[in-house]
Amino acid sequence: MFSKILVANRGEIAVRVIRACREMGIESIAVYSDVDRHALHVRYADYAYRIGPPQASESYLNIDKLLEIARMSGAEAIHPGYGFLAENPDFARRLKDEGIKLIGPPPEAMRVMGSKTLARQTVSAAGVPVVPGTKESIETEEEVLRVAREVGYPVMLKAAAGGGGKGLRLVNEESEMRSAIRMARSEAKSSFGDDSMYIEKYIERPRHIEIQVLADQQGNTIHLFERECSIQRRHQKVIEESPSVFVTDEIRKEMGAVAVAAAKAVDYEGAGTVEFLMDKEKNFYFLEMNTRLQVEHPVTEMVTGIDIVKEQIKIAAGEPLRFKQEEIKQVGHAIECRIYAEDPDKNFFPCPGLIETLRIPGGPGVRDDSGVFEGFEIPIHYDPMISKLVVWGKDRQEAILRMGRALSEYIITGVKTTVPFHIRVMNNRHFIEGDFDTNFIDQVFLKEEQERIPENSEVAIIVGAIEQFIREKSESLKSDEVREGEGISLWKSSFRPGFGRRF
């Protein structure tokens, strides 16, 4: 086993890895940019090294500097977390050359899965279902019509050189096809100077289901069942759960086997996630494989009892997996809500800033994975995630009620957060009934919310008036005292221990 691990990340995920190291008796090495010296991951580590200025490109993405620190500190392995360098094959290769173990897959697996087309080809060859269509450009309209008929309408017509929604056309039936091709081609031509098109089946209102896999260096590959991550805003996951209400036991088994096949196809090592889109008929299609620890890994940990980060470390150290597929059970239900410093009432606009009050929920079945503390200033340079609140319940109903309870206890002031948004989702009928897809937040929830009339406006008005009353009263008291020349003594009293904490 390693004796020292460098954690090449920040925020909650760095804290998560450092906690695992501490619980394994492994010393951890933190790195920090100039705005992160106070951050929890630094305070919880055994060693800490400054890595550079705030900008990620000069700090957490600086491979040379990381290698220098790794050498200097005697790190035997590096855990990259997620984001930053976690899926960078160059970094993986550099570490290999240096003889420092990356806690993650081999560079080649990372490279293949990092390329959409290569990944699709590779897993498809291993029998993994991919979204039907063509990957090469199609020349003639007749050919387009033939392929579209083959995969079945609706289809997406995509510019091969495309991106950013340009040259993209949803075609619902054959009668729309000819005009769609003309318009898409002309758009593609003018945008990219290339009018070649390809076709993919359009998955209507898909759900996002993913499978967690673990593969050791001995070639054992298992899966830890699925997570459903269909609750997204701006195509970013915000609520994840395991199991999925939508997946049957039979499909669960099938998806697990397929995910293991995908991992084996690239000789995968460590923890990884195979993501699928699932249509209304529960057909599932390979989307991509994330070759790293996933943000939402805790929901899997809570239903399986397996510590994925510790397993990553053990696998990297060469230990074989200690459990077989059939020994792994999904027990109960887990939900994760990502708490961001964002204003949910203003289109989830980021709101970094100083956390003035922080009270974290507790009690049974509640886990908070956080990278912040009261008094911490959330830097503007990185992802504005504050914490991940995860709950476990004996079933989905208990988990939802518990999450609602935990969220109601969460107090964060100083910055706006997504806590209120999550409370409302937990109270939403569609969410409770499991009736949603990846468009739920943008297309259903936000509309329903606009029509809902909040219940406590009178109480809010009362509190607002009392707050103003008390503020004006204390202001006038203060100015009286200043007028009487007692300003200095009062000022001194503000340095009493406990001041500012009593109200």
Binding site: R234, D343, D345, K346, N347, F348, F349, P350, C351, P352, E356, T357, R359, I380, D383, P384, L407, S408, I411, T413, K416, V419, P420, F421, H422, I423, R424, N427, P454, E455, N456, S457, E458, V459, A460, I461, I462, V463, G464, A465, I466, E467, Q468, F469, I470, R471, E472, G500, F503
Partner: protein
């Protein structure tokens, strides 16, 4: 003391009187409500009305008080009688001017309107990127774009003026 509390379009007159330690008599229209209100944390109040418990978190910025209760945010404006009188005067003078400013540092991605253009309520007027996310700002009311202070590609500070709509 009397306060004019407005929530979205509505405004109510609220009377506040102290009735003991952390006890208040509140008058709204012709009803009187006994309120037990304790500031339990920096910006958190614990309220008991008729033995019912409420917890309210506040974001206070002068007379704008946002109150968060059970997951719902109530953006209030709370003015005492003096300030209310002043605001009547200035509103009349300003004739419904609307200043749109940047809530945090970012980059102007797109200005969607031009000076002189008529805009409707809720129409998008500018897109700002911050922390890798784009956000469209909308006009709160119908009007005419009086001035655009920034151009596409500009880096703006938090609080910097973006547009003025009349």
């Amino acid at each position: 003391m009397n306060y004019y509390v407005s929530l979205e379009e509505k405004e109510v007159l609220v009377g506040v009187a102290e009735a003991g330690v952390a006890q208040f008599k509140i008058r709204i229209e012709d009803r009187e409500i006994a309120v037990d209100a304790h500031k339990v944390e920096r910006d958190a109040w614990s309220i008991v009305i008729d033995n019912r418990v409420y917890e309210a978190d506040l974001v206070v910025s002068d007379d704008d008080i946002e109150v968060l209760i059970k997951g719902d945010m109530y953006p209030l404006r709370v003015l005492n009688e003096q300030k209310k009188a002043l605001s009547r005067v200035s509103e009349a003078a300003e004739g419904g001017k609307q200043l749109i400013d940047a809530p945090m540092p970012g980059k102007v991605v797109k200005v969607l309107v031009m000076e002189g253009q008529e805009v409707e309520a809720n129409q998008g007027v500018i897109i700002i990127e911050a922390m890798k996310m784009e956000n469209e700002f909308k006009s709160r009311a119908a009007g005419k774009v009086k001035e655009v202070f920034v151009k596409e590609g500009d880096i703006v500070e938090g609080g910097e003026r973006l547009l003025l709509i009349e």
